[in-house]
């Protein structure tokens, strides 16, 4: 396709600023791509490219004659076992400038004077296997113009849409977002609440479980610490970054967190010794997970459902054989109202004997206005 400026923007006039060095920092993003996928320089401009390898594998960076990228990539591959010693840079007049193989977390620099001839000069990593994906375009022209991103055939197809981190976000079902160019479903089915994901998420250990409940309620129960960590309403998760590439990201909460816990909620018996907790797993009952864990060997089961008509959670606990009194320690958040189906509240602590602890409910609702204490 003809580019807007081809043949028209060749200019012999010296431009202001042509002599100043244009410095570009190029890093590496997950999935074999340069973070900077295209840029413009002026003909004859001094250019400095700083290539910072932010990836965990080796890369180089070559700038080629217009249209010569694929040929150079193929020539580099033909180096076969000689490639490493040559930094995968073949001898070719089509290669204008290059930065040799840069190890992870290292930088390399190349300085050059941009060609006088306007055109699109590809840059590419010729590390074997990378060159068909990992490339970009240096536009040399005096106008500083580039085609629309979506029409730019000089960059990888995957980069012609809005950046992935923006685009794939809207993978998420939640309304109010601009749709990506090609909407992708989350799954081959539509998840029906309640459902859950094991995720990395802020505010919990790396062994977190995020659960979507009906009525736009969600909570994070942490298998690493065996407790409800926080709860929110107004949505569930945006997993687009977590699911992208290597998974070097966190799931993002969609909605508003209305509860965050402070400490482990149970004390069983008089023992002051540090509770030894052990996560056991969960069972789905009508799709609701019932978590199972032990505290100093005592089995505890917990299922969380939404309250009806208010924003809140009903936590059903089962401690079939506590063998001693049980104290449930409510968090001292004055935004939450606690109620229970059994036991006695004292100073924010719910006291239950072993029989009462066999099954009881703690209801947590958002305080609407002034309410009496717990």
């Amino acid at each position: 396709m003809a580019l807007l400026f081809t043949g028209t923007s060749l200019s012999s006039h010296a431009q202001n600023g042509v002599d100043s060095v244009k410095t570009l920092l190029i890093k590496v993003e997950t999935g074999l791509q340069f973070d900077l996928v295209r840029f413009t320089v002026k003909p004859g401009q001094k250019v400095r490219i700083v290539f910072e390898n932010t990836d965990d594998m080796d890369h180089n960076l070559l700038i080629t004659m217009p249209g010569a990228r694929e040929e150079v990539v193929t020539t580099a591959l033909q180096l076969a076992e000689k490639g490493p010693a040559m930094n995968f840079i073949p001898k070719s007049p089509k290669i204008l400038w290059s930065i040799p193989v840069i190890a992870p977390d290292q930088k390399g620099t190349v300085e050059f004077t941009a060609p006088e001839k306007a055109g699109v000069y590809p840059y590419v990593c010729t590390y074997p296997g990378h060159g068909f994906l990992m490339y970009g375009a240096m536009y040399v022209n005096s106008t500083g113009k580039m085609p629309k991103l979506k029409d730019d055939r000089n960059i990888p197809e995957s980069r012609r849409a809005a950046p992935l981190s923006e685009g794939e976000k809207h993978d998420d079902m939640h309304a109010g977002h601009q749709m990506p160019p090609v909407p992708k479903p989350l799954h081959p089915y539509t998840p029906i609440s309640p459902y859950l994901y094991r995720v990395f998420i802020e505010g919990a250990s790396p062994a977190a479980i995020a659960v979507s409940l009906p009525d736009s309620l969600s909570y994070c129960w942490d298998a690493g610490t065996c407790r409800l960590r926080f709860a929110w309403h107004g949505g569930f998760l945006d997993n687009s970054d977590l699911w992208k590439g290597k998974g070097d990201a966190l799931a993002k909460v969609v909605g508003h967190i209305f509860f965050t816990d402070q400490a482990f909620p149970f004390r069983i018996g008089k023992s002051e010794k540090l509770a030894l907790i052990n996560y056991k797993g969960y069972t789905l009952i009508d799709r609701y997970p019932e978590f199972h864990y032990t505290v100093n060997g005592v089995d505890i089961y917990e299922m969380i459902r939404p309250t009806i008509g208010t924003i809140g959670l009903v936590r059903t606990f089962r401690i079939p054989d506590a063998g001693a009194d049980v104290v449930y320690l409510a968090d001292q958040e004055d935004t939450i109202v606690y109620k229970s189906s059994a036991g006695q509240w004292k100073n924010g602590q719910l006291q239950l004997n072993a029989a009462e602890a066999r099954q009881f409910k703690v209801t947590m609702t958002i305080k609407k206005e002034m309410k009496h204490g717990k």
Binding site: T30, G31, L32, T54, D55, D56, M57, D58, T74, L77, Q78, A80, E81, G83, P84, A85, A103, P104, D105, Y127, P128, G129, H130, F132, L133, K184, P185, L186, H187, P188, Y189, P191, Y195, L196, Y197, R198, F200, A204, S205, P206, A207, I209, A223, G224, N239, W243, K244, G245, K246, G247, D248, A249, Y279, K280, G281, Y282, T283, L284, I285, P289
Partner: protein, 495 residues
């Protein structure tokens, strides 16, 4: 997985092989593509077969799906997993699945076709929240013990403020861990053994990114690893209890470890501690990111290579084949391409044989190079013209072919291009081929049936890969040799 994809691919070489092999090999093996369900992001984490012949696969977004090859329909079995990368089937309704936080027993207890029990089997290992902490397995030995592998932690990622397990920064190189793969929470970089009592035991250390566990038919455990720091080229390890396989960080979790930060030990000291790979996959030539080893125990249903290991490769449209022998008490052997191109894609991450001997291949990219989906490789019944085994002799090597070969081409030493080299053991990412030297093939002898050839090599040396390229060699019936490149890792000479 991890840096498995940090790996190069010699595409030009591959393309040549593809064109040529596509014709020759299509007569012995046929590649077919499985239709995946609409809406599934097909990054396959693992595949296995249920006893009833259905295929189970798990995927990056946490789905566990079951495929019935008879009607080609998919159904959802379980959901919500975090990066599931391994399955061990227990029954038609029950399986073990490894995910980032734990090994989980997943069971459909009420028979409605979807799982309702997600029981932790073990989570007795650290988790810093770093993206590279992928977990693999489980595989089961003859005694019922399970083995899982825990990736080292990447300097390209970070540790979360809240981790699981005790932090010990002695397992890192540099105060911020931003240099090499590391192990700052327990047992990252280890292969672990889970005994019947539910206890998880550290078994072997020194792994960087061991994305592939498997047993051979004799019960030997193997793991692949990925080229990178301390891994000059990707290896296959014969994993044995108590041994250290080379990547330093994991050493701090060795019982009784008293040598401080392992990265402060000299490479010579570390080299003396490590057990070397049974097989090296020369980078850029054989495999850049090998994955799961699977032993062909199909009794001929999948062709003539029974008892050998097939290993997926992420970066090429290739499955690699490994043949092993015991020399001086240790396993060593050769690797050779098994299938190149012929419609196979990249990202060959998981392998499983169907009950009728068809090889299914799960594909993944996961942020590195690779394709996505599932393909299967069907043996057509026509024996490929190939190297069946390569064995070391006292003075050289012996090749056994699957078919009688044409003797005129085989007797000609000019048709044998042999060279040897090794790889540096160092913290630098990968290694060039070191000490490359050509060898002269002499004394070629061919068996009466034309299926075996022996030759001698002057000054055969331990500690090198011997790379053999065969040219112009045909079968007696005129069939081209399907794979002409074979690499023997010579750790020990025959005394």
């Amino acid at each position: 997985m991890g840096n498995r994809l940090s790996k190069a691919i010699c595409v030009s070489l591959f393309l040549l092989v593809f064109i040529w092999a596509g014709n020759a090999r299509s007569q012995s093996y046929r590649v077919e593509t499985i239709k995946m369900p609409d809406g599934l992001t097909n990054e396959n984490g693992a595949i296995e077969f249920l006893p009833d012949g259905r295929l189970v696969g798990c995927f990056t977004r946490g789905e566990v799906m079951i495929y019935n090859p008879k009607d080609e329909k998919w159904s959802l079995f379980a959901e919500g997993f975090h990066d599931p990368l391994g399955i061990l089937v227990l029954s038609n309704s029950e399986m073990l699945i490894i995910q980032r936080p734990e090994l989980t027993r997943v069971k459909d207890t009420d028979g409605d076709g979807s799982a309702d029990l997600y029981e932790k089997v073990t989570d007795d290992f650290g988790l810093s929240g770093n993206y590279h902490e992928y977990n693999y397995g489980p595989v089961k030995d003859g005694a019922g013990n399970l083995f899982i592998a825990l990736n080292s932690t990447s300097p390209g990622g970070s540790m979360r403020p809240e981790v699981r397990g005790k932090i010990d920064t002695l397992g890192r190189d540099g105060s911020n861990g931003l240099r090499q793969m590391y192990s700052a929470v327990p047992y990252r970089g280890w292969i672990m053994k889970l005994t019947a009592d539910g206890q998880l035991h550290p078994y072997a250390s020194g792994f960087r990114s061991p994305n592939g566990l498997g047993f051979d038919s004799e019960g030997n455990l193997f793991a692949t690893d990925n080229q990178g720091d301390w891994v000059g080229t990707s290896p296959l390890f014969h994993v044995q209890e108590g041994k250290f396989y080379g990547h330093p960080g994991s050493l701090i979790w060795t019982r009784g470890w008293n040598k401080g930060n392992p990265y402060r030990l000299s490479p010579e000291v570390l080299n003396g501690m490590r057990t070397k790979p049974a097989v090296l996959f020369p980078h850029g030539i054989m495999a850049n990111s090998p994955t799961q080893p699977l032993c062909d125990q199909t009794n001929g249903q999948f062709g003539p290579f029974g008892g050998q290991l097939l290993i997926g490769e992420m970066n090429k449209e290739r499955i690699v084949r490994v043949m092993l022998e015991r020399v001086g008490g240790e396993l060593q052997g050769a690797c050779i391409p098994f299938l190149d191109g012929a419609g196979l894609r990249k990202g060959n991450n998981r392998l499983a044989f169907s009950p009728d001997g068809v090889l299914y291949v799960g594909q993944n990219s996961h942020g590195w190079l690779g394709d996505e989906g599932i393909q299967r490789i069907v043996f057509t019944g026509k024996t490929p013209v190939d190297i069946y085994t390569m064995n070391l002799t006292k003075t050289g090597f012996k090749l056994v072919f699957t078919e009688p070969m044409e003797k005129e081409s085989l007797i000609n030493a000019d048709n044998f291009k042999l060279r040897h080299y090794n790889y540096a053991y160092h913290k630098k990412y990968g290694s060039d081929q070191m000490g490359v030297q050509s060898d002269q093939v002499r004394g070629i002898e061919i068996s009466a049936d034309g299926k075996e050839v022996t030759f001698t090599v002057e000054a055969l040396q331990a500690g090198y890969v011997y790379e053999l390229n065969l040219n112009n060699i045909k079968s007696k019936d005129g069939g081209a040799l399907e794979n002409t490149l074979i690499c023997y890792t010579l750790n020990k000479l025959i005394k």
